[in-house]
């Protein structure tokens, strides 16, 4: 696991977008798409905008497809279950099972929402490095402690992952093979416990190292850049689109 995302390196306008503009645009877009949009037409428009943004950020197609595949595996399971189990009008029958229109529409909506939000997040957040997002969160007024916790969690996830891998390898080298047995459960509990203790100790050491270099509770940043016209235009455009599509969706339903 790497600290920066697979999409953070690039020279497109989206890669140079201000962190605050990203967070506001991504937050509003995700909220509106997840909560307010219900109509297939507005959801399709949201997906189209997200796909356009993702295309503008010029990601590696293979990486993008891998990321989308991971999310859509979950969606696929919904398609296998919901159209058959959601109450509604049957459009096709297979023995005792009925394929229902409401289930199909629900799955379509979930698919559109998931992919629209995923693509928007890749375009707006994954094109930014984590420390820039942390600084932007702080500048948007989020509590310093929360920002530090978020940042350090992300920073040390890979270290904890590596620590866990080493602990598991050490066990495997001494013949440990996970099975469904009390011995495996005992060993696994021990491994998890060991990982927690190691993580806790490392966290304490990192905190001490930070104290030694004058840390006083928040990450200081040099030279906070003012918002540029381009930042406002891109972010404002996405927010305006989200609000407008929310309003149209509401009108279509009423």
């Amino acid at each position: 696991m790497r600290l920066e995302s697979d999409f953070s390196r690039g020279e497109t306008p989206l890669h140079h977008l201000d962190g605050r503009a990203r967070l506001v645009a991504a937050g509003v877009f995700a909220l509106v798409v997840a909560v307010f949009l219900k109509e297939t037409s507005t959801l399709t428009a949201a997906l189209a905008l997200a796909a356009l943004l993702a295309a503008l950020s010029r990601p590696s197609p293979m990486r993008l497809l891998r990321r989308m595949a991971a999310v859509n595996v979950f969606v696929l399971f919904l398609w296998l279950v919901l159209p058959w189990s959601t109450p509604g009008e049957a459009v096709w029958r297979l023995g005792p099972f009925s394929l229902r229109e409401e289930g199909i529409l629900l799955c379509a909506a979930v698919t559109l929402k998931c992919n629209a939000i995923l693509l928007a997040m890749i375009a707006l957040l994954a094109t930014c490095e984590l420390h820039e997002l942390a600084a932007a969160m702080r500048r948007l007024g989020m509590p310093a402690r929360l920002v530090v916790i978020t940042f350090l969690c992300a920073r040390y996830l890979h270290l904890i992952w590596e620590e866990g891998r080493r602990v598991r390898q050490a066990a495997e080298l001494r013949g440990f093979v996970p099975r469904t047995s009390p011995a495996t459960y005992r060993t696994s509990a021990g491994l998890v416990g060991s990982l927690l203790v190691r993580s806790h100790e490392r966290a304490a050491r990192v905190y001490r190292a930070m104290l030694c270099r004058g840390f006083s509770g928040s990450f200081p940043r040099a030279g906070a850049r003012p918002l540029r016209v381009r930042d406002v235009l891109i972010s404002g455009g996405i927010v305006a689109f989200a609000i407008t599509s929310g309003a149209i969706d509401w009108l279509l339903r009423n």
Binding site: H158, V206, A209, A222
Partner: protein, 278 residues
């Protein structure tokens, strides 16, 4: 001329909660220009002593003074940590920002320096450790030796008067270790080096303090302490091969042929005084 006293431990006792005392009324002085090696077996308290000096640990009894300040209260702790830099044993503990440049900038930013001054401090520190141009590199992608140097740069960027280096040569290959010896030789600051690597201590320090069993067992010139085979074996250490082989140490020129110092380095109860070298 009296040499400025930078760090003083007076009758310091310390124990980790519920365990037997790690230090019992120890006394130690570090003076300006000292290059002091802390040696001792595992668990003798080398790292803890360094943590006491920067106030990460508090003594159960006794006093720790650094740069004329009592290590008590948030204000004094900040002042001391600003001027006494600690290099941690594990570089991964010290490198918590995404890029090397940001990690090196962390300390100067906390000092409240402006953007240009931070940039200058980062460049100066990276150049000092031979890592100019590494600012954009990702910290977790560095090799072990590079991480060690980057961690040292994070400390140097604070422009400390005293460097506390905890096992700086651990895990380094011979070339990286040699380069680190040369680098520390170039850094003209008071240095306290804790290490199990006796050759490294001999190459970088002109004075050695041997810790064991909660006390300072010996405090004297490097070759006098490290060359005492009986003393070293008694405390789980070994005489460096270079002494056995009769190779002159880099600090031999300071010794004045050992006149007046002979075997007077063993200490039953430490007084905090030693012959200032510089």
């Amino acid at each position: 001329m009296a040499v400025e006293e930078l760090i003083r431990l007076e009758s310091v006792s310390f124990a980790y909660g519920g365990r037997s005392p790690l230090f019992r009324e120890i006394n130690m002085v570090v003076r300006a220009g000292d290059r002091l090696g802390l040696v001792g077996p595992n668990g003798s308290g080398k790292t803890s002593l360094m943590h006491l000096i920067v106030g990460l640990l508090a003594p159960a009894a006794g006093r720790v003074r650094a740069l004329g300040l009592e290590l008590a209260g948030e204000v004094n702790l900040r002042k001391v940590r600003r001027r006494v830099g600690l290099l941690f044993q594990d570089a991964d503990d010290q490198l918590f920002n995404p890029t090397v440049g940001e990690d090196v900038a962390f300390g100067p930013l906390n000092l409240g320096l402006d953007h240009d001054a931070v940039g200058e401090a980062v460049d100066r520190a990276l150049s000092a450790v031979g890592m100019a141009g590494f600012g954009e590199r990702l910290s977790h992608d560095l090799s072990g030796g590079e991480k060690r140097l980057a961690a040292l740069a994070t400390v140097l960027a604070m422009d400390p008067e005293v460097l506390l280096l905890d096992e700086p040569s651990a895990g380094l290959d011979p070339r990286a270790r040699r380069e680190l010896v040369a680098l520390l030789g170039r850094i003209e600051r008071t240095q306290v080096v804790s290490s199990h690597d006796m050759e490294f201590v001999r190459a970088t320090c002109d004075r050695v303090v041997l810790l064991d069993g909660g006390s300072i067992i010996a405090d004297g010139r490097t070759d006098e302490v490290l060359g005492d085979s009986e003393l070293m074996l008694e405390h789980g250490l070994e005489v460096p091969y270079s002494i056995d082989a009769g190779v002159h140490g880099p600090h031999d020129h300071h010794h004045g042929a050992g006149v007046g110092h002979g075997h007077g380095h063993r200490r039953g109860h430490d007084t905090g005084e030693h012959a200032a070298v510089k």
